[in-house]
Subunit: 314 residues, 2 copies
Amino acid sequence: MDEFELIDRLIEILGDNVRGPHILLGPGDDAALIETPPGSLVVASIDTLVGGVHFPLGAPADLIGFRSLGVSLSDLAAMGADPAYVLIALTLPDGSDRWIERFAHGVAAAASRFGVAIAGGNLARGPLNVGVSVHGHVARGEALTRAGARPNDLVCVSGQLGGAAAALSRADLSSPPALSALLAVSADDPLYPLRRYYLPEPRIELGRTLRGLATAAIDISDGLVADLGHLCAASAVAGEIDLEDVPVVAGVDRQLAATGGDDYELCFTIAPRDRERLPNSVTVVGRIGEGSGVVVRSRGQPLQLSRRGFSHFR
Amino acid sequence: MDEFELIDRLIEILGDNVRGPHILLGPGDDAALIETPPGSLVVASIDTLVGGVHFPLGAPADLIGFRSLGVSLSDLAAMGADPAYVLIALTLPDGSDRWIERFAHGVAAAASRFGVAIAGGNLARGPLNVGVSVHGHVARGEALTRAGARPNDLVCVSGQLGGAAAALSRADLSSPPALSALLAVSADDPLYPLRRYYLPEPRIELGRTLRGLATAAIDISDGLVADLGHLCAASAVAGEIDLEDVPVVAGVDRQLAATGGDDYELCFTIAPRDRERLPNSVTVVGRIGEGSGVVVRSRGQPLQLSRRGFSHFR
């Protein structure tokens, strides 16, 4: 298949996922046409997954497709936005039709699961690279940002941390179960870290719940300590984490869980009086103070962490 | 500089270009916040430039930055949209601070010239890859699309073609003049093809003029013959081009001009009665008929072209 036949095949596999309530014109023209609900703002972010850096080059293409959507939609969850549409820029080394088709199946599975339309994309030849531009809507004045945390606020985390970081050291990272089987793996299964790594679940519903409740929010992509650091910097406050309170995926080292990236849970702050409004899936792990930086305490003592989170270009 | 220091430096270089009339929150949070003018739709597209494929790996970084914006904004011009904001996903092999800074200067120059804000981005490590997601606005019902050309419509082209294709065979492709000098090169200068290749000018103002005038439009990225083919397929009509009427950059072979890509001029169709409403920068090069496919004629005879345009994955 040439480039244009491949694009037609991709659109065929995506099926209903190229349509959505706000998409007036989807893939196939020079650009897509999308309407913004009255009173809403557009929330927009872009992310890149590089083959051999953000996933093993031999990883199954459908898992890469699913992961690329999950990772980028997590930014919308952190803003409290409703997902609307994504644009996908796929660069891959050769015309491996089967790879692209399998990638599209993974994208379609994630798009269905997370309620987002594939409004357009681009196909180019080169080293494997998946760029995803995500777009959502949020009522004006209701978006969550990193700025807004105040001294005495509580620091909260959704779900359990460390699963994705634990997957990175597994020998079977490049040979995970099939997508449908992996999606069914439960938290007490030894394969759960692989699910967390390949099939992150952007906390979209929690993001919606946090509108008008959280004072600041960020998604955990670089690691809890690093990302709380970004939130604190944007809010001009200091953060404190009690290591023993960090919710951890079963069997994962607690320090790894506090510093490992790729979990795509939400870290956010709330006023102490709002504590009882928190959903059950959320854990309070620390508090905000005056000053700057993040301190991690274990049994009350400040901890010197060996790894504070992920950064390219160190 | 680490990843976050580099991002701060990029934002510093971009200066006022991270702001725009519709940007409520620019780079630095999980996502940007943008308002859509009442009565307008969002027009959205994504493009990728791969190092060694879409530009020479040794090309100056500022020219790559400028080109990546010009190329992707051309899709907005083809839809008749007003540019609003872009998101840039930059993947590059190592933390070459100077390269990134120079890239940012080129992006800033293009953003100022074309009136678009840099609302966000992503920085990752890997083989050189520039993904640009572009977003514009157009009043509901006024967008141009590839569909809508009708038999007897005239086929029109803006500017002159073939400059970018001619640049590809030049020995000095990797060592062009500095950005400011190249922007000043005029059409009769032997260096003009290099300007056309590195500094494409998306025909945004023409796109605006064509609202309510063109029956269909596309930008010329793959080559006139190939792109008119896409327009005809979307419109379910046939196209005919008179090779002698194709407007050509001085000194460029006419067949190369008709098939070479990367010109980022507009190809569009109008009803014959609207011919006198065309701006001077536009040339009528053929007509639309019933059927499918594109025929190129030279002195009235159908021509067998050796190259019909660019396609990855052949």
